[in-house]
Symmetry: C2
Subunit: 462 residues, 2 copies
Amino acid sequence: MALAIKRVDSAIEALRNRLGERLSTSGAVREQHGHDESWHPTQAPDAVAFARSTEEVAEIVKICAAYRTPVVPFGAGTSVEGQLQAVEGGISLDLSQMNRILAVNGEDLDCIVQPGVRRKQLNEHLRDSGLFFPIDPGADASIGGMTGTRASGTNAVRYGTMRENVLALTVVLPDGRVIKTARRARKSSAGYDLTRLFVGSEGTLGVIVEITLRLYGIPEAIAAAVVPFETIAGAVDTTILTIQSGIPVARIELLDEVQLDAICRYSGIDYPIKPTLFLEFHGTEQGVREQSALVKAIADEHGGGGFQWTTRPEERSKLWQARHDAAYAAKALRKGCGIWATDVCVPLSRLAECIAETQKDLKQSFLVAPLVGHVGDGNFHLAFVLDRDNPQELREAERLNGRLVERALAMGGTCTGEHGVGLGKRKYLTAEHGAETLSVMAAIKQALDPDGIMNPGKMLPD
Amino acid sequence: MALAIKRVDSAIEALRNRLGERLSTSGAVREQHGHDESWHPTQAPDAVAFARSTEEVAEIVKICAAYRTPVVPFGAGTSVEGQLQAVEGGISLDLSQMNRILAVNGEDLDCIVQPGVRRKQLNEHLRDSGLFFPIDPGADASIGGMTGTRASGTNAVRYGTMRENVLALTVVLPDGRVIKTARRARKSSAGYDLTRLFVGSEGTLGVIVEITLRLYGIPEAIAAAVVPFETIAGAVDTTILTIQSGIPVARIELLDEVQLDAICRYSGIDYPIKPTLFLEFHGTEQGVREQSALVKAIADEHGGGGFQWTTRPEERSKLWQARHDAAYAAKALRKGCGIWATDVCVPLSRLAECIAETQKDLKQSFLVAPLVGHVGDGNFHLAFVLDRDNPQELREAERLNGRLVERALAMGGTCTGEHGVGLGKRKYLTAEHGAETLSVMAAIKQALDPDGIMNPGKMLPD
């Protein structure tokens, strides 16, 4: 312990020499970097280093490597499974000042950004080019963080997740060397897919310092629709049939009654308090009408009345802002409370059953947990509304979360569709993958980060 | 060497005890397993083991591991960069008898297959379900081999490559342990993306024994079109604008005059001998017409006359069969000759320039090499028609290939878009990725296969 303290102190001294005031040991700064948006308690780093370039990141990591000091990459702080807690102390490496958009290659439908660029900033920047970046996890997350957690969100059903939309990365390895994982070609068979290895690695294999992303043309026509259902099963079955029919919906989001009620109160909108699908269609004018008519026909057969359709941008914006505020709306249900967000993803054929059993569980609990989902992918979220200081409530959330994960795994699903593992899902990885698969992940971690300095205590179980 | 011989003999003895007649040391069987469809000379394995189950593969690999004997996984033998040559001898592990389709989950739009299943066999099996598997590299390759080389082909512009369409794998590791890389959920953020690590690993990290694939509904309407152009630049610019406009073409294939002439002769079809685009559109009746009209308008502005359109299945089949026979048609250009196939992939904005410079190079050479490409992805192929026994012709192909790769890399592209590295592209990997990136790939190889028994001498440079 004495040695560990000495090491981190030496690292801090070396970093201060290099970064000056951009190395902070202030209590407030450390506290702010010791947590994300999850329920996990703050665990502050010993210091926070603010990097401004790839070269600086490489130097910072080299110093930390020399003193075997943990490095926790930090983007916008919006992760939800405890990815940012400095469980072994060390340095929080804040990348928010690396927020430049380095290139937009309109003809190639790609761009290159630094990790601190936020997704809204990127789309703002792209607006005049007629292009957009579709991945939208709700929060205004950093692109580096979204890459690290393999984020997806509402548009993934049509455009894929970060897995499909990152073309190449520049990464600072745990020893400070800098590599590029791939070139800018749309596809390649030239060697191991290091890009995909770092996408979703949650800062445990290196620091992502540049991201090459796929872009898409803004569709000629965009339309949105809201469809309330008599039953949640009707809404889920409509989703399943829509996907199975190959209708290329851009978004198909389910909100249960509790969640819909919460957002209506929070956002001051007025929908019937029923299980509801929010949909978006992208295409030509004609294509969008056609898709919408097909979905309406399916919804009509499953108790979906009052299909409301709009192509007006301001109405669409209002709709999706309300959807994105789902977590805040959930939080507002109980004054002074926070939320514990969790997500699972199951094969589409099991989605209705998985949601039904989950709701049954929730009905028997004293906790409230709105349900919202990117159901086109088989992915849904719960937000347990709780007093984070109340151990009984935390225990109940943990119990319900455990049952949810167990249920998803039993149905061939995964313990997290898009939030990542962090601290919160670590204990489920063995049940999901088996010990042998985890040993392969551990072997890769050991090969790339033998001293275990990169975001220690996260993802892989001990 | 004496030790090596002893080891392989011991391995063969142990394998024969286990497999009986399914362990072959016959000269003809070894010869057949010592090459693929590339120009690389045959290098026969010491023996060929025919496996019938995952358990058998695991036992075979364990025996080979015990005797440090190379294992070269073998599917359909259709690779084109020397992936199958047993450069260090050892055992060719023939998986063609593992050809069962284990499950089709129609509601989930996925299926599980053994590695020896051929892509045509899979689509034949799926026909009545209304589903199809889109990845189509031309050859009737095995799904295991397609996974191993990260194959793609004509439909990739719309449906992605094997990278996007493999959901999960079962893999026998180099020590004989069996792992599953992921579950059947559409997306997951639960740990490192081992699926993508094995996709494209060309048998160097383990043996793929089960593949879970995404499937798609057969579109309501399919139409094809053929468009001859005055210049190849016109055809390429039409492609670039089509992609940039977001028109969701399912196939957009370029054939240069030499290739078009070759397939007209070979397949007995009658098109004007001009640079030509073959297109396919998938969608609703209305959507297909709309897409086609949009592409026609672009083509009209770029010297594309005589847009021929068809929705008749037999005409479409004839068209795509002719396209798929491109390599055979090339081969038929010179009696008794073979081909040396190569491919590169560049960012779309550089495609016209890359093709123009390549054609200039070809015009100055005594070798003929038809050009054909999945141009919507920026990917194109050359097939050098040559006498594989003539060193002068091989040297010239090597020179042109080297210049092609250098050109693609200088444009931000990759040395192979879909054929893989094998033996043929090994020497270009350092130029493409840099030594540091390759050292990470080597560290992963070392971590998973410390004795280097899996397909040695392939992909990574020494």
